[in-house]
């Protein structure tokens, strides 16, 4: 139950998910409770990023699991997602009514543009970290075009690119991006 409330608080006070969570997690888990060291948290976090799933949820599950096994993982995750469910449900319930005002429509007209800018920014940032060689560039281009031009599911693209990585990038391990 402790785990539930700790992660409930984290979920309730982390704006933007993922990366924003790290400092709060360090404060709650390392400084306040000494459940893990700074390096361990970074390791959990790194693992949370490469394992499928949402980073915040992965890291929460991992810490909970280390602490109290399967149930610990479950309660940490439930704690983490509870605030979202509550807050978003409230917003979504009223959002429809808000949408009828012209002012709100105009505001969201502007906001939609900035969301595209945020996405573009995320792409640029991830590009710098992920696309480091010709193979990477080709994989980027292919997956971009496949999604734009066909109805193939992103899931197929992910699996295909993992296989391509296995075949084409294994020997480059020494220089591969980390």
């Amino acid at each position: 139950m402790d785990l539930y409330w700790i992660f409930f608080r984290m979920g309730a006070f982390t704006f933007g998910g993922g990366y924003a969570m790290l400092p709060i997690m360090q404060e709650e888990i390392v400084n306040k409770r000494q459940w893990a060291t700074d390096t361990e948290i970074i390791d959990y976090y790194a693992l949370g990023q490469v394992v499928p799933g949402i980073i915040a949820i992965n890291t929460a599950t991992l810490i909970g699991h280390r602490r109290r096994g399967n149930w610990g993982g479950l309660f940490s995750t439930l704690g983490m997602i509870s605030p979202s469910i509550i807050i978003i449900t409230i917003i979504a319930a009223f959002f429809h009514r808000f949408q009828e005002y012209q002012v709100v429509q105009q505001a969201f007209g502007g906001i939609r543009v900035v969301v595209v800018a945020l996405i573009a920014h995320a792409v640029i940032k991830m590009w710098k970290q992920s696309v480091k060689n010709k193979v990477g560039f080709v994989l980027f281009l292919i997956s971009f075009l496949v999604i734009i031009l066909s109805n193939i599911s992103p899931i197929v693209v992910i699996i295909a690119s993992a296989l391509a990585g296995l075949v084409l990038l294994q020997n480059k391990e020494g220089v591969a991006p980390k």
């Binding site: 998910g17 990366y19 990023q49 949820i57 807050i87 449900t89 573009a120 994989l139 292919i142 992910i158």
Partner: protein, 187 residues
């Protein structure tokens, strides 16, 4: 049964989104395409809301979409579906912990996935850009090229992209600014 569909669809998203924040976007877009639970415009509004409210973006988006589709229970089920793969996978790999990361096969696989994920997000971004930066539908009906480009939106886009890169403030700041700009310049 809508609840089962919701759970399974978001389970798949949780299973295949690797990384943080916007990586689930291409999958959400795919759902919009497939089921029409919400519109592409709703998707953009949803991202803005998910980024401006506390909690992981993916979970926020799942709750929002689930709620729009099947009410309160739908929101909760979509979120649980999205979180479930993490629980299962972490429980399995926690035993192999550190070694998992260092396995050359695993790393080569992820080195292939990462650039593809960037491509997926770029594609989803491109598709939503068609709605908010260009008036494709209007262009299709009028065939008037000058109608295609929404100049106001493009200027705002360029300024915001520059600002995001330059000042690195929290997304909520830019979302608030864009909201005001939208009201003042009547977007």
């Amino acid at each position: 049964m809508i609840y089962i569909t919701l759970f399974l669809e978001f389970f798949k998203i949780g299973l295949f989104s690797i990384g943080g924040g916007l990586v689930s976007l291409p999958f959400l877009y795919d759902l919009v395409d497939k089921y029409g639970w919400i519109t592409s415009q709703d998707l953009l509004d949803m991202i803005a809301i998910a980024e401006s409210t506390p909690g992981p973006i993916g979970i926020n988006a799942a709750t929002f979409m689930g709620y729009k589709t099947a009410g309160i229970l739908g929101g909760a089920i979509a979120s649980l579906g999205m979180a479930a793969p993490s629980l299962i996978i972490i429980a399995i790999i926690v035993h192999y912990f550190m070694k998992f990361n260092e396995n050359p096969l695993v790393r080569a696989g992820f080195d292939g996935i990462r650039p593809a994920v960037v491509g997926l997000i770029a594609a989803a971004g491109f598709q939503v850009a068609k709605i908010s930066l260009f008036n494709f539908d209007l262009y299709k009906t009028t065939k008037d090229f000058s109608q295609l480009i929404d100049l106001k939106a493009l200027v705002l886009f360029a300024v915001m992209l520059y600002g995001i890169n330059r000042f690195k403030k929290h997304p909520i700041v830019y979302i608030a600014i864009a909201g005001f700009v939208g009201i003042i310049f009547k977007f």
